[in-house]
């Protein structure tokens, strides 16, 4: 019976998870193509350093260490999941304990120690978020769901760890009644403190509660991820692999514009020539998520909402509306909204909304100095700047919505080859002045 329940639970959990992963994949594929298949060795290195090694986290060492404890315990606890799956399916108890012997004791002890560190880290993070009121974790774009999301996952983590120690602790006391010990680093002393003197029956029930509680929390966690900023646990890997490797100052070249400009500059071009058949009626710049590249959309799914970008943003820190974190959160919200809408109403359906306008305003876009501080800061190599620029391109080239002073600057460049009103003939006057 238990095995059956376990089987059904496991299958449905993985099934639902797969279903959501497929949606994520589909949503990312709404983006425009972009080639990031080059420089493989460098990409692997970036992924190992930035995602696995959390290199960029260590510019702030204390949160980095606490975060590392949470992350390591998360990753390593999954080894135990293998045994839970085997035990759950076959009805065995600690399937690997006998065959692995001392190594088993070591692995479980390691998990226990990490779990304690993770517990401490989680409590510290909860306190920081809710009591210390760190500005970057309490801005208005986090009000409501994002803040709940952040707290919820921390609470999940606490519950999960509590279940692990309930299970291991009760099991330990049961062992001592039989004159043995599992010998795990934490539960061998924590177990007796918590449960010494309880009846064998109670202990069995406690152990079962711990075991089931653990696996249920793992499945809950797994299925919660696709709706949460905690998706970065997975997304950090592909996202850093596909990082922009070009110098940060290099903006993309718009090939569609190159074609038109070349035509304009070529005196031999036939102005009446029909546009090439393959020239899709493309839009200049981005109005909605479908105009962004798939990497921009993957970025949005990878964002941890940590706000390191925003706290380094010169526009934001001087009170402007722009927040690069909000740009990423808006992109994700809009992508999920549009993805769901299209799945329901067909690929060509329009819902009348767009990223620019419904989510992001012109005022935000015009505050950016393109300084790349957000890109530099992001621990998972997200590039909010490229979204900002693509939205600006749409504003300027499709809608001619340019701040007045910039119109003057652009006209000057077109007319006299400089952003100010100086005649080209005066360009070398400096050499003869004193």
């Amino acid at each position: 019976m238990q095995q059956l329940i376990f089987g059904v639970l496991t299958l449905s959990s993985f099934g639902f998870f797969a279903f959501n992963l497929r949606k994520i994949g589909q949503n990312i594929h709404m983006g425009m193509p972009l080639d990031r298949s080059d420089r493989k060795a460098e990409r692997w290195r970036t992924m190992l350093l930035v995602a696995l090694g959390q290199k960029k986290m260590f510019t702030r060492p204390i949160p980095a260490l606490l975060h590392l404890a949470l992350y390591a315990s998360f990753v390593i606890t999954q080894i135990e999941l293998i045994e839970i799956l085997v035990d759950g399916m076959s009805g065995s108890h600690r399937f690997f304990q006998n065959s692995l012997g001392g190594f088993y004791t070591f692995v479980i002890s390691f998990i226990e120690v990490l779990s304690v560190l993770a517990f401490i880290g989680t409590v510290a993070f909860l306190a920081r978020r809710n009591m210390l009121k760190l500005p970057r974790l309490n801005m208005k774009e986090l009000a409501g769901w994002p803040k709940q999301d952040a707290n919820l996952i921390l609470v999940f983590e606490l519950i999960l760890i509590t279940f692990i120690f309930t299970m291991n602790g009760a099991d330990e006391v049961l062992q001592t009644y039989a004159g043995n010990s599992n010998g795990f680093a934490i539960s061998s002393w924590l177990g007796p403190i918590l449960f010494e003197g309880k009846s064998t029956h109670t202990l069995h029930v406690l152990e079962q509660i711990g075991w089931w509680g653990h696996i249920i929390m793992v499945y809950t966690f797994m299925n919660y991820l696709p709706y949460s900023k905690h998706l970065h646990i997975f997304m950090a890997f592909p996202n850093t692999y596909y990082s922009k490797l070009a110098p940060k100052g290099q903006f993309t070249n718009m090939q569609s514009v190159t074609n038109e400009v070349k035509l304009m500059l070529d005196p031999n071009a036939d102005p009446y020539a029909a546009p090439a058949a393959d020239a899709a009626p493309s839009r200049f710049g981005a109005k909605d998520v479908t105009d962004l590249t798939w990497k921009n959309l993957m970025d949005a799914y990878s964002c941890t909402e940590c706000g390191r970008c925003t706290s380094a943003c010169p526009a934001n820190t001087t009170g402007k509306l722009l927040s690069p974190r909000k740009i990423m959160m808006d992109t994700r919200d809009r992508m999920v909204e549009l993805g769901d809408f299209k799945r329901k109403n067909g690929q060509d359906a329009e819902d009348g909304k767009s990223l620019l306008g419904s989510y992001i305003t012109e005022e935000e876009l015009w505050a950016c100095t393109s300084c790349n501080a957000c890109v530099q800061e992001c621990p998972v190599n997200i590039d909010p700047l490229s979204i900002i620029i693509d939205l600006r391109r749409f504003l300027v080239m499709e809608e001619s919505k340019v701040p007045t002073e910039l119109t003057g600057m652009l006209t000057n460049i077109e007319n006299n080859g400089a952003p100010w009103q100086f005649a080209p003939t005066e360009r070398m006057n400096w050499a003869n002045e004193d």
């Binding site: 070009a246 110098p247 940060k248 100052g249 290099q250 903006f251 070249n253 718009m254 514009v257 190159t258 038109e260 400009v261 304009m264 500059l265 710049g285 010169p314 526009a315 001087t318 009170g319 402007k320 509306l321 722009l322 005022e363 505050a367 950016c368 100095t369 393109s370 300084c371 790349n372 501080a373 890109v375 530099q376 620029i389 600006r392 391109r393 749409f394 504003l395 300027v396 080239m397 340019v402 701040p403 002073e405 910039l406 003057g408 600057m409 652009l410 460049i413 077109e414 080859g417 400089a418 952003p419 100010w420 100086f422 080209p424 003939t425 005066e426 360009r427 070398m428 400096w430 050499a431």
Partner: protein
């Protein structure tokens, strides 16, 4: 000392070709403050007998502010015209004192057909010193002075050049003091992304004021920069605090030209 500058057209006509093209840029050509930086660099080049040329009246905006403002058309028009000119003169190597020109020429022109070796003037000066072509006089201009370096975004984060300007400051008889936000963490001066040409959006502070505070906090006598736009922004910031007497904003090229008695 009067400066000697020859144009590319002029050199071509007499069958010569320069080793390096000095891309002056719009600020360096038209802005009164930036023209001084241009001349300081030319003095260094003259002194070291570098065989260089400028485009003169044939030079035109790289298109950087247009591109950052989102107008890719204007950018590419400028870029393609400039590339045609540069390729026509068979330019191989370019030096510029503007990080925005530097970034655009180095990173954004190749895809449009213009591939050159592009260096920032601090890199060129560093090279001139390291190869012994330029020696700094022991004239005590900077003795006991504190200098802080403001990283231009388009030189630092955008292109990872952090050391060349610092090495040059260290060669002066002065102390290099860092601001709390420097190198990769450096704070923008507020001019980038075409902001130079517009009013800032609504906020509670100007970015250049915030940045000038960082600089003043170091109690430096000189704020050194490597960008004509940063120079303007920091100069305005210093004026805002009425500190013009105590704090000077200078380009690295000017510091070196002074230290070399040029």
């Amino acid at each position: 000392m009067s400066i000697q500058v020859r144009t590319m057209a002029d050199m071509m006509a007499s069958g010569e070709s320069p080793d390096i093209l000095f891309w002056v840029g719009c600020a360096g050509s038209f802005d009164d403050r930036a023209k001084k930086i241009t001349k300081a660099l030319v003095k260094i080049l003259n002194h070291c007998k570098v065989n260089f040329a400028v485009l003169g009246t044939e030079e035109s905006c790289t298109g950087d502010p247009a591109k950052r403002a989102g107008n890719e058309f204007t950018f590419q028009m400028q870029a393609l015209m400039n590339i045609e000119l540069l390729n026509g003169y068979e330019v191989k190597k370019i030096v510029t004192a503007c990080p925005h020109c530097f970034n655009t020429l180095k990173n954004e022109y190749p895809e449009l057909g213009g591939t050159y070796e592009v260096i920032h003037h601090t890199q060129l000066i560093q090279d001139l010193i390291n190869t012994g072509k330029l020696t700094l006089a022991d004239n005590g201009t900077f003795k006991g002075k504190k200098i802080t370096f403001h990283d231009p975004c388009y030189l630092g984060r955008a292109n990872d050049v952090y050391e060349a300007p610092r090495e040059l400051i260290e060669k002066l008889d002065a102390a290099l003091v860092e601001m709390k936000r420097c190198k990769t963490n450096g704070l923008c001066c507020g001019a980038g992304g075409a902001q130079m040409f517009k009013e800032a959006e609504k906020g509670n502070k100007e970015i250049n004021i915030e940045r000038t505070e960082d600089a003043i906090e170091t109690s430096a006598n000189i704020i050194a920069t490597g960008c004509p736009f940063c120079n303007t922004m920091m100069t305005d910031g210093v004026k805002h605090f009425e500190k013009e007497e105590d704090v000077k904003v200078m380009d690295i090229a000017e510091l070196i030209a002074n230290a070399a008695d040029l």
